[in-house]
């Protein structure tokens, strides 16, 4: 005895030809049964389309993140469907919301627990620079304690803006060189934050 269906009983026929986008293959030399390219391009392509984000949602931007994750502005279409809360398993730390000085050490510890390669996106004005809260108890931007890759301004940023920031992270991930994390420049960056 099935329940009467009320929704989606007149589905609109879709043109499958334009509905699915296929990722661009990286530049390389192709032949009969083989394809050569740079390792970093292939690895970057795979990584950028399957990021596992860690939503570090503290305040209002967290609610916009929930709207981004929901079905209207879907984050899952970019491959970031599996949001995790364990830093050991995630590559992208999305800091959304105000970080107070009491929360600073917690954020730093979460960042330190993440495994390389890791990226950080600061969503919202408060995470980027303290926002409207220029007070004694608010950290004026998370880049005081951890290195940040992309900043998304807004208070709160629209879900489209968060998706745009995410796409910029994808660009960074796709073009990153294999040797970056061992390079002198990266080590100097981490040392300037006091991270070994």
């Amino acid at each position: 005895m099935s329940r009467p269906v009320r929704f989606n009983i007149h589905p609109i026929p879709s043109e499958a030809k334009d509905a699915v986008s296929v990722a661009e293959a990286p530049e390389g030399y192709a032949g009969e049964g083989f394809f050569t390219t740079q390792l970093s391009s292939v690895v970057g392509l795979a990584r950028k389309n399957s990021m596992w984000p860690l939503p570090f949602a503290t305040s209002c931007c967290g609610i916009e993140f929930m709207a981004t994750m929901a079905s209207h502005y879907d984050l899952a279409r970019f491959g970031a469907e599996r949001v995790g809360f364990s830093p050991r398993q995630c590559d992208l730390l999305m800091v959304m919301g105000t970080i107070a000085k009491k929360m600073g050490p917690v954020l730093r510890q979460v960042y330190l627990q993440m495994a390389e390669p890791r990226w950080v996106i600061a969503v919202g004005a408060c995470a980027s620079s303290g926002g409207i809260f220029d007070s004694y108890s608010v950290l004026q931007g998370i880049d005081q304690i951890i290195p940040v890759d992309v900043y998304v301004p807004g208070c709160p940023p629209r879900p489209e803006a968060i998706l745009d920031g995410f796409m910029k992270i994808q660009e960074l991930v796709g073009q990153e060189s294999i040797r970056r994390r061992n390079s002198e420049q990266y080590k100097a960056l981490l040392n300037s934050y006091g991270i070994e």
Binding site: S129, S135, Y136, Q140, G141
Partner: protein, 168 residues
Amino acid sequence: MALNNSIIQEKLVAQFGEEMFSFSEQYGMLCLEAPTEQNLKVLQFLYDEPTLAFRFLTDLCAVHDPEKPGKEICVVYHLHNLIENVRIRLKVYTSVADPKVFTATRLFEAANWMERETYDFYGVQFVGHPNLKRVLNVDEMDYFPLRKEYPLEDQTRIDKDDQMFGRG
């Protein structure tokens, strides 16, 4: 007869005497100031008296006014009689050099964290509080930030230029 401000005033004066309080009425709400040592007695009377029955503590906060020597910090209690729908405001004053007020936690459980917040912001020592430590600020903070002499901004920040905000 429904409870109104004059009945509350009469009952309080009848119980405690004429000189103890100073009454005023602000935007329809009766405000009374009591001596600091008597705050628990007044709260207990307002709670127990069957016609007054102020059994709900709406709010507990403090105000710092450096212009009143000896009475700089004022602890404000907002009480509410839910049945008759009457609100009342009780104020006790204490000095900023030695701010001690008796705690209301045995009467109202809600006062627990509200008094911790008042201690955190103004340094008011609530005598008899079970767990008087900071609740909102970091535990290592050594000053009481909401007092008027302290600035709002963190003075050690380097990325914001006070000159541009008109506070050079």
